[in-house]
C-alpha cells in the first residue's frame, strides 16, 4: 500500500508540473462550458428583419408589436416596395422579410383567413428554419387569441408543450455533451499519454522490474485522473447551474455515480490505447481521431443520431459517449431515476469490463 501511495504521489507531481496538462485538465472544461453555453447556441436571437405592411391596420399593428416584443427579432425598418426587400437581402443585413398584403385585414375579418408572406434567407438553412418557426409561432399565437373572442366551433388547434426544456434552450443539450467530451479528453487522452510516456522514456521497464505488480502500476496511473475528472464534473455542474441557469432535475448522487462510471469507462479505454501503442504521438492521434471525433459527431449531442444513415447509427452504438449522453440527459434534465437508465448503465459497464479485460491480457502478453 505504501508503494502504491508513493506511486500515486509521483503521478500528481507529473500532472502538476506540466503546464499543458494542467491547462487541458482545468482550462478546457471551463472554456468549453463557456463556449458552448454562450457562444455556440442553436437559438437565434435578435435576427434583423424588415416588414412591408401594405395593410396598416389594427391586426397588422398588433402582430408587429408582438414581433417587436420578442427578443428573437429586431425590426430594421418598414419597407414600401418589393424591390427594396431584395436589396436588403442582397446586402446580407436581414434574415427575413415579412409582407402583409393590402387586403390582409379585410380578408381576416370577412373570409376568416388571411395570408402573410414570409421570406427568409436560406443561405443558412438552419437559421432560416429557426426564424420562420419563431415567426409562425408568433402569428399562431395572435390567431389563437382572436379565436378566443370569435368562438368558432370545430376548430382543432394544436397546443404544443416542450417537455423538460420548455424554452428549448440549447444549453440543456450542450452541457451533457460537453461533460462527455471533456471527460473523454481528460481520461482517455491524458491517461493514454501518461502511460505511453513512461514507455517512451524507458522508465516503464524500470517499473516492470520493480516489485510493483503491473495491475498496481496501471491503477496508480489512473487514480490521479479519476480524481481530477471528478473535480471536472463538479466544476462543469457548478458552472452550468450558476452561470447558465441549468436545472439539475434528478438526483445529484445518481448523476455523480453515472459520471463516475463513464470516467472509469474512459480511463479503461485510455489504458487500452496506451498498452496498444508505443509512442506518445500514436496515443495522441488515436485518442483524438479515434475518440474525440466520434464523441463529437456520433454521441448525439451535436447531431441527432436518428437522422444519420443506418451505418453511422450502428457505429454510434460503440461510442461510450452516446450512452453517457442518454443517461445524463435522463438524469439531469428529465429528472428520471435509475429505473429509466439501467440498460445504458449496463452497456457502459460492459464496455468498461471489455476494455479492462483486453488491456490486462495484452499487458501480460507484453511481459511474456
Amino acid at each position: 500500500m505504501k508503494q502504491f501511495l508513493a506511486f500515486v504521489r509521483k503521478e500528481f507531481y507529473h500532472v502538476f508540473r506540466d503546464r499543458r496538462t494542467l491547462f487541458i485538465l482545468f482550462g478546457m472544461p471551463v472554456a468549453q462550458i463557456l463556449m458552448f453555453g454562450f457562444a455556440l447556441t442553436n437559438e437565434v436571437k435578435d435576427s434583423k428583419i424588415v416588414i412591408m405592411d401594405q395593410s396598416q391596420d389594427r391586426a397588422t399593428q398588433q402582430i408587429i408589436s408582438k414581433i417587436e416584443a420578442s427578443h428573437y427579432f429586431k425590426i430594421q425598418q418598414n419597407i414600401v416596395s418589393p424591390k427594396q426587400i431584395e436589396e436588403e437581402f442582397k446586402k446580407g443585413k436581414i434574415k427575413m422579410a415579412l409582407i402583409f398584403p393590402s387586403n390582409f385585414y379585410n380578408d381576416l375579418m370577412h373570409l376568416h383567413t388571411a395570408e402573410v408572406q414570409v421570406i427568409a434567407d436560406a443561405s443558412d438553412p438552419n437559421v432560416a428554419t429557426t426564424v420562420t418557426n419563431y415567426i409562425s409561432a408568433i402569428i399562431l399565437e395572435y390567431q389563437h387569441n382572436l379565436n378566443l373572442n370569435l368562438n368558432l366551433p370545430y376548430r382543432i388547434s394544436t397546443e404544443i408543450r416542450m417537455l423538460y426544456n420548455p424554452q428549448q434552450k440549447s444549453v440543456h443539450s450542450m452541457v451533457p455533451g460537453v461533460m462527455a467530451l471533456v471527460l473523454m479528453l481528460v481520461c482517455v487522452m491524458m491517461t493514454a499519454i501518461s502511460i505511453v510516456k513512461e514507455k517512451e522514456t524507458g522508465t516503464m521497464e524500470v517499473l516492470l522490474v520493480s516489485p510493483l505488480r503491473p495491475m498496481l502500476i496501471i491503477l496508480a496511473k489512473a487514480i490521479p485522473y479519476l480524481l481530477l475528472s471528478f473535480i471536472n464534473i463538479l466544476t462543469i455542474l457548478v458552472l452550468s447551474v450558476a452561470l447558465l441557469g441549468l436545472p439539475i432535475n434528478g438526483s445529484i448522487l445518481l448523476l455523480i455515480a453515472v459520471s463516475t462510471l463513464y470516467i472509469i469507462a474512459c480511463l479503461s479505454l485510455g489504458i487500452l490505447i496506451s498498452i496498444k501503442t508505443s509512442t506518445q504521438q500514436d496515443a495522441m492521434t488515436i485518442s483524438l481521431m479515434g475518440m474525440l471525433l466520434p464523441t463529437v459527431m456520433l454521441s448525439g449531442f451535436m447531431f441527432p443520431i436518428e437522422n444519420m444513415p443506418v451505418v453511422l447509427q450502428v457505429i454510434s452504438n460503440i461510442v461510450p459517449a452516446k450512452w453517457f449522453n442518454i443517461i445524463i440527459k435522463a438524469v439531469m434534465i428529465k429528472g428520471l431515476g435509475f429505473g429509466a437508465i439501467w440498460k445504458e448503465v449496463l452497456i457502459l459497464t460492459g464496455m468498461t469490463i471489455f476494455f479492462l479485460v483486453v488491456s490486462l491480457k495484452s499487458f501480460k502478453i507484453r511481459l511474456a
Binding site: K2, Q3, T203, L208, P211
Partner: protein
C-alpha cells in the same frame, strides 16, 4: 548453489522461428562483476530481460539469488536492481523526489528513506541540488544518480544495460568506481557494454555471438586464449563470424 547468485542453464528464447538466445549457460558469483558483451542484435538484451523477469524463457532454467525465474519472479524482483540504457529517472521530478519514489516502490520505510537519501546525496555530492529537477542536471550526474537509485534497496544483483552510453571518460571512470564499491560490499553486478576498456574492468566477461555465448573467461585469460594483446581484438575476432546483421 549458494555462492552463485545468477545461474543459467541452457536458457533459450525464441520469437517464432527466430532464436534470440540459444541455450546459454553461465554462473555468476556473489560480488562478481560480470561483463556481458556482444554485438548489437546478438541477444544480450533478450537474455537480460529473461533474467530480470521481464520476459519468459522458451526453455532452459535459471535462478537469481536462488529464486526460480519461472515461479518466483516476485521474489526476484525484490532482490534485483535495474538500470537501462535509456536514462531511467523522471526528468520532471526533483532528485530527492526520484530517490523517494524509487525507494518507496521498493518498500523502504520513511526512516530508511531518510537516512538512505541523505547518504546517497552526500556520496554523490548532490546535497545542494537535491531540490532541483533532474532535467536540469548534467548527463553524467544523472547516470550516477540512476545507478545509486538502482542499488538503493541493496539488491543481491544489479543489472546494468549499457549504463555509460554517451558519458565522458572521466565520469565513466567514476561510474566504475561506484560499481567496484558496491561489488566490494558483496553485490553482484551484471553489466552490458560496448566499451572494451570497460570490459577490462570486469572480473569475468562473456561474449555473445548470434544468440550463443562464444567465450567466457577473465579478460586476461581471453586475451591469452585468442593470442591477442587487447579485448578489442578478442571481440573483433568473435563478432566477425556473426551471421546476423542488424
Amino acid at each position: 548453489m549458494a555462492e552463485y547468485v545468477i545461474k543459467a542453464e541452457k536458457l533459450t528464447k525464441k520469437f517464432g522461428d527466430f532464436t534470440a538466445t540459444n541455450a546459454i549457460s553461465f554462473e555468476v558469483g556473489k560480488g562478481e562483476i560480470f561483463g556481458f558483451l556482444g554485438a548489437n542484435g546478438a541477444g544480450k538484451t533478450t537474455a537480460m530481460r529473461m533474467l530480470c523477469g521481464l520476459s519468459k524463457p522458451t526453455s532452459g532454467k535459471a535462478t537469481i539469488a536462488g529464486f526460480d525465474i519461472y515461479k518466483q519472479t516476485e521474489q526476484i524482483k525484490k532482490n534485483i536492481g535495474y538500470m537501462s540504457q535509456k536514462f531511467s529517472l523522471y526528468e520532471d521530478l526533483t532528485i530527492l523526489e526520484n530517490i523517494h519514489f524509487f525507494g518507496g516502490i521498493y518498500g523502504l520505510n520513511n526512516q530508511q528513506l531518510k537516512s538512505k537519501s541523505k547518504q546517497l546525496l552526500h556520496d554523490l555530492d548532490l546535497e545542494k541540488e537535491a531540490k532541483k529537477l533532474v532535467s536540469g542536471i548534467p548527463l553524467g550526474w544523472k547516470q550516477k544518480l540512476a545507478f545509486s537509485v538502482a542499488v538503493l534497496h541493496n539488491p543481491a544483483v544489479v543489472f546494468l544495460d549499457e549504463p555509460t552510453g554517451g558519458v565522458d571518460p572521466v565520469t565513466r571512470r567514476q561510474f566504475w568506481d561506484m560499481i567496484y564499491e558496491v561489488a566490494h560490499h558483496g553485490m553482484t553486478v551484471f553489466v552490458t557494454t560496448h566499451y572494451m576498456d570497460e570490459a577490462e574492468y570486469c572480473n569475468r566477461i562473456s561474449i555473445m555471438v548470434d544468440g550463443k555465448i562464444e567465450a567466457l573467461n577473465t579478460p586476461s585469460n581471453l586475451k591469452h586464449q585468442f593470442n591477442v594483446p587487447s579485448m578489442d581484438q578478442v571481440f573483433y575476432q568473435l563478432a566477425r563470424g556473426a551471421k546476423r546483421i542488424e
